[in-house]
Amino acid sequence: MSTPSSGSSPARITSEVVAKVAKLSSLHLSDDELALMTTQLSGMLDHFADIDKLDLSNVAPLAQPFPLKNVFREDVVVAGLDRDEVLAAAPAAEDGRFRVPPSLGLGEQ
């Protein structure tokens, strides 16, 4: 379907790189998903190599349509979100806080 890219784009994406990206993305993917993802991402990146032929050396990047600037408001107290209402929407809460499993993998719950 797609041909390997050439020119200045990085080498084809490998399943090892895809597995690393899945880890960075906090996504547990099955082996089948990783294989399919490798094929599909490769196809996309091949297509995206079309911009390699552009000379972009003197072009400034554009990250926002209009320049961002800090927005300030008067320092007056306004009502925040209702804590109980917010916690009620969480999968687990305890003592007015979000409850999460241990972060150091200290045994099964």
């Binding site: 990047p61 990250a63 209402e85 499993p101």
Partner: protein, 475 residues
């Protein structure tokens, strides 16, 4: 062209004048939902009881002689990525299923203050990622004009709800064409306002530098009224533009005499001949109304797809990091925090969302940032420069909204890239932060509607709506 259902303008006028009531109008819309929703699946949730309570309140206010808003009693539907306090907001994703936001989006508050009656939350491609609404975790929406075809996406449910007469108007969000393309495929008017003209506060973020909220309606006048209600500065959105909302309803009759209409000298491949024929007819109609047609070039147009499909997933990969099973939605219980994150996200996100998170994370990761995300931002500058040069020669640009009419369900689901190609004409506007809208202009293949897209520079809404109104008169 006669419209099959009552317009926002007519409904609001008739209710205000006492010719009908908000309850009566609502029941007509609910009856159509009862009749056809099981075939269409426009909604994730129909808020029947809340809608009836709101309509009764509107009628009571009118009876009591209290002042009511410009949309008093008008049934509207909201894309299910807009926060509604206490009412489930899912983004058509399993990861948010059951979540009830603790606040309303600014656009929701403004609709409520204008007296609108919310009838439900509409289906979308999961987290607005898609062009057909087939990526919803809750099943696809069908095009009401031909249920074997897609309504477009990602705001397909909002488009279908209006096209089927379930609501007189709806709101969608447009990151790369997600309002304009479904409007085109369903024969509706759909508006992507200038970035910052409509508040994004309370809209679940997909790609923050590209997302904008806008209306779906049957007529240009309805869209103008909806824009006046939802638009204008919002202190709760740091990217909200400081200026007040310009009047749009007052300019619709001003015509296009003396206006310069840009025509793409090089049309990209892949357009259906019937779509191109309607484009030619649109130029003829505007010329007959006194406008001049000017050939313009957007040399970077073909590279926009690449720029968009790197920038949008990059921003999405960051925005969607918040769905981790801690503060809202579902959680897959595992032994420790990090495996809980990974298992929850794996179970909660669908294939397209995972693909875009992966693509975005890759494009932003060390070693690949300059080659992908960095380059994409430079291409984004090129298209903005192209537009700036084009708008030296013309006031608006006309293109097709979509290269094709509505396609059959399942037609483009096997190869993600084919689906991405649907967005070739709509993406550049989002990259530049400009305004654009789709206006129905006759039919193409299979007797399905064709939309003409009117593109205008930033804050060019008044000019854009004048051209749209002229196209509507000629269609």
């Amino acid at each position: 062209m006669t419209k099959p259902f009552a317009t926002v303008v007519d409904i609001a006028a008739d209710i205000a004048a006492g010719k009908t009531s908000a309850v009566e109008v609502l029941e007509q819309h609910l009856a159509r939902i009862t009749e056809r929703e099981s075939d269409i699946h426009a909604f994730n949730l129909v808020t029947t009881e809340q809608a009836r309570a709101t309509a009764q309140q509107v009628d009571a206010d009118i009876k009591a002689g209290k002042p009511v808003g410009p949309l008093a009693g008008v049934p509207v539907a909201l894309k299910d990525n807009m926060c509604t306090r206490g009412i489930e907001t899912t983004c058509s994703s399993k990861i948010l299923e059951g979540w009830k936001p603790p606040y309303d989006a600014t656009v929701v508050t403004r609709l409520q203050q204008a007296g609108a009656v919310m009838v439900g939350k509409t289906n979308l491609d999961e987290f607005a990622m898609g062009s057909s609404t087939e990526n919803s975790a809750f099943g696809p929406t069908k095009n009401p004009l031909d249920t074997s075809r897609v309504p477009g996406g990602s705001s397909g449910g909002s488009a279908a709800a209006v096209a089927a007469g379930f609501a007189a108007a709806s709101l969608g969000s447009d990151t790369g064409g997600s309002i304009r393309q479904p409007a085109s495929l369903c024969g509706l008017v759909g508006v992507k306002p200038t970035y910052g003209l409509v508040s994004r506060q309370g809209i679940v973020a997909f790609a923050s530098s590209l997302d904008q909220v806008g209306p779906f309606t049957h007529t240009v006048a309805d869209a103008a009224l909806m824009m006046e209600v939802i638009g204008g500065h919002d202190p709760l959105d740091s990217t909200s533009l400081p200026q007040p909302m310009p009047s749009l309803t007052s300019v619709l009759g001003q015509g296009v005499k003396g206006m310069r209409i840009g025509r793409l000298a090089d049309m990209p491949d892949g357009c259906e001949p019937e779509v191109l024929a309607r484009m030619d007819a649109a130029y003829v109609a505007l010329q007959a109304a006194g406008a001049t047609i000017v050939d313009i070039a957007l040399p970077s147009l073909s590279y926009c797809l690449t720029a968009y499909y790197l920038v949008a997933p990059a921003e999405a990969s960051s925005n969607l990091a918040r769905y981790d099973g801690v503060r809202y939605g579902m959680r897959v219980e595992t032994g420790d925090l990090h495996s809980m994150y990974g298992a929850t996200r794996a179970a909660g996100f669908g294939a397209e969302v995972k693909r875009r998170i992966m693509l975005g994370t890759y494009a932003l990761s060390a070693g690949y940032f300059d080659a992908y995300y960095g380059k994409a931002l430079k291409v984004r500058r090129l298209i903005a420069n192209d537009f700036a040069a084009a708008y030296e020669k013309c006031d608006v640009i006309l293109t097709p909204t979509s290269p094709t009419v509505a396609f059959p369900l399942g037609d483009k689901t096997s190869d993600p890239l084919t689906m991405y190609l649907c967005d070739i004409f709509t993406i550049p506007t989002n990259l530049a932060g400009h305004a654009a809208m789709s206006v129905p202009f006759g039919t193409g293949a299979h007797n399905m509607p064709v939309g003409v897209q009117v593109l205008a520079p930033a804050l060019g809404e008044q000019t854009m709506f004048r051209v749209a109104a002229e196209l509507e008169r000629a269609s």
